[in-house]
């Protein structure tokens, strides 16, 4: 992750942001967030709920003094966490995917942590007052009703769907849009499939547990042969238990590395698509302004031209910001995926080695087992 690069009193050290704790009170989760400024080693700890995060995201969207804000790829905020009771487990999985898994919201916290780190690492966004307030203010800022920013998460109405396919004037952007649409769908699909695999492994672990327990009940001390048979059943029970633990570890590894990575990548792809869409909308606006300007009656012409010039300027700034953003995005995502893939592989490798050693031990013991 890029560290912050300005040494002002306000800037925060992005990599120092950690979510150290989470507590659940009924339906609400409260996160403890610690961070350090880049200029000092003193740490600050604040407590925030999900509403506060939403407030932050809104704040970032609605910064008014930033030119070309619409060209920024905003780090994606994870969806609202649903406290998982047995009824809403399926619902939670549907909404949050991998983030709903794992013990005690650990994965979800990790995702939130990454979100904050990404915001803090962004050249433009890290300077936002909202971020500062979020990380440092002892009061919870989320209670205020934030004004709706111009960049709300866009729900694509029918009209906007039409704009999605609008042809671009710039080849670079057209190809980015096409590849974005394609990749985004593929990543989403892969994430879902991987989630299926992981859930299946968890079910398998459960089935192993049942089998192991059933074996444990096959104990009978009536005569020497029964004793021997019982010993064998217990041995097998241990083995199946080992298999179960292995599956649990494997699926935990999956969730905390590749699962998280794929989920993040999917959401980031979405964020990029949203940015490109905003730019496309601006393009449509520009082309409309151009047409209006051409067709304007002489008395309105000056105004129309003014509008046209302003829109052109906005569009150009947005495009230039967007281009930069895209370049950063490509670089960041590759390194992010790389880290996750390496981590995944290393963890699975170590688990496989452990399991292999343990099972080999069992095998040796069994061979020596005198009947």
């Amino acid at each position: 992750m890029k560290g912050s690069n300005e040494d002002s009193a306000q800037s925060v050290n992005g990599s120092s942001i950690k979510i150290t704790d989470v507590t659940q009170d009924g339906d609400t989760l409260t996160f403890a967030i610690t961070s350090q400024k880049s200029s000092s080693s003193a740490g600050v700890c604040v407590f925030r709920t999900y509403e506060d995060f939403e407030w932050l995201q809104q704040g970032l969207f609605s910064q008014e003094d930033v030119p070309g804000l619409q060209g920024v790829i905003f780090p994606p905020l994870p969806s609202k966490p649903l406290p998982s009771t047995s009824l809403s487990q399926a619902k939670a999985l549907k909404q949050l995917g991998f983030l709903a898994l794992g013990d005690e919201w650990m994965i979800y916290c990790k995702a939130l942590e990454l979100y904050l780190q990404q915001v803090a690492a962004h050249t433009t966004l890290s300077k936002s007052k909202a971020l500062y307030s979020f990380l440092n203010s002892s009061e919870s800022p989320g209670k205020q009703c934030g004004k709706k920013g111009i960049l709300n998460r866009l729900s694509q109405a029918m009209e906007e769907m039409r704009k999605e396919g609008h042809k671009d004037v710039d080849e670079f952007f057209q190809s980015e849009r096409d590849s974005s649409t394609n990749l985004s769908a593929l990543f989403k699909l892969s994430t879902e499939k991987f989630l299926d695999v992981v859930l299946n492994k968890q079910r398998l672990a459960l089935a192993c547990g049942h089998f192991s327990t059933s074996l444990h009940l096959c104990v009978n001390q009536d005569n020497p042969t029964a004793v021997a048979f019982s010993k064998i059943c217990l041995k097998l029970s241990d083995i199946i238990e080992a298999v179960k633990i292995n599956y649990e570890k494997v699926s935990d590894n999956d969730i905390s590395t590749l699962g998280l990575g794929l989920d993040l990548e999917s959401r980031y792809q979405e964020a990029k698509r949203e940015m490109l869409f905003r730019r496309t909308c601006k393009l449509v606006e520009l082309e409309t302004a151009n047409r209006n300007s051409e067709r304007a009656k002489p008395n309105k012409k000056a105004i129309m031209e003014g509008v046209q010039k302003a829109t052109q300027k906005e569009f150009d700034i947005i495009s230039s910001v967007a281009k930069q953003e895209i370049e950063h995005y490509h670089r960041d995502r590759v390194s992010l995926l790389r880290d996750f893939l390496i981590c995944w592989c290393e963890k699975q490798l170590s688990t496989a080695r452990e399991s292999s050693a343990l099972l080999s031990q069992h095998l040796d013991a069994c061979k020596k087992f005198a009947v």
């Binding site: 089998f211 005569n223 298999v243």
Partner: protein, 510 residues
Amino acid sequence: MAEDREPPPLADAVQTDFREVEEGEDLFVSTVSTLSPTSPEPASFPAEDISTNSNGPKQEILLDDDQEDLFAEATEEVSLDSPEREPILSDGPSPAITPVTPTVIITPRVDALFDRSLDEVKQISINVLYLFSIIQAFYFCLQGDGMNAYMAYKVTTKTSLSLFSRNEFSVKRRFSDFLGLHSKLASKYMHIGYIVPPAPEKSIVGMTKVKVGKEDLSSAEFVEKRRSALERYLMRTVNHPALVKDPDVIQFLENTELPRAVSTQALSGAGILRMVNKAADAVNKMTIKMNESDAWFEEKQQQFENLDIQLRKLHASVESLVCHRKELSVNTASFAKSAAMLGNSEDHTALSRALSQLAEVEEKIDQLHHEQAYADFYLFSELLGDYVRLITAVKGVFDQRMKTWSKWQDAQVMLQRKREAEAKLQYANKPDKLQQAKDEIKEWEAKVQQGERDFEQISKNIRREVERFEKQRVKDFKVVIIKYLESLVHTQQQLIKYWEAFLPEAKAIA
């Protein structure tokens, strides 16, 4: 799929070394499993007078207690795979499933299975040696056409017992022949207390699919499952010291032509067990309260009841395990596909490469899951299923004992009546009827004695059989567990290889 394949000549099979295996032998390639260190030398085959003329279940077949253990110290192994499989497996990958090392036993050879052009048969091979037996299986063939087609199994026996005229021979048998053999053995031996191993179940659905020529994986699975079940059945039968000497068994193994078993519907394993169960029910419904003088029998019956329940539970657990593993295999394959698509679409070269590698790794893992599912199934599910059926046979034998007891009791009651009748006739003056009554008394006295003898004999037999059964059970389970562990260890080691290969790819993403 129909590749021309020559059956490996039996000569190769003979060269398999049946030497005694040391404890530490690599069990991946050899099928002979652990011999206990105390097992005697192969040469020490007791010079017994093995009468092959016994053809009835009567007294002639009584085994002495010392003779019982023809194979006692031998590790009897119901081996599920064979070294001979290696030449087949390594002949090239089967189209549906990539073959792996021989201990992962079960991947059906889809390509070999449907080659009807060469007259290849599905083989089952029994080696009945001094100490241990090994079963191998090769191909099969479908003879005839349409619904009259039937599967022929080649049963190959290798033996050094003098019971047989040659050391090595093979015959063709069909499924109904196996059922026929079982029915004969059951009718001869069950009522004197021998635990006759039950034959595999008939399955109309499975066979029809195969006959109709559905060349898919489930048919191949079915055929392999059946072949394996028949092998185990035969092995259990010949491992029984009394049954192996039975002329029907010898005929089954040796004779080229066997009279067709008729009305196999009634002779199917299920049919026989139904008969036994009906008899048991009938016995129970009669108002016999058997005075059990021997606590051993009471205890044992209870134990077997418990064991039955336990095994059924275990079987259900394993089935669920197998189901989940198969599901996992499907899901992993699906994920692998989507990862492959990602790899293709990704612009960044190194990332694209890594994603494609990921897809490959996942495909290989899917393969492992697939094989592990087979291992779970064949090793445990089939073993547990076999034992559930065996226990039903054991229960049947206990019921036979009850029946024998009740027959004895009935004879006693009859005798009593005849004595009373005679006593009455003593006072009436009818000398000829008196004589008849005395004759009848003699007749029934003999029957009572016979009844008692039968009862004692069956009790004795059952005790011995149960002991043998219990020992065998422990051995069987131990063998299967070791095989299972080996397949688990193998899977983990493969996984390690895959991950080690993938790691540099992931690190290479720049």
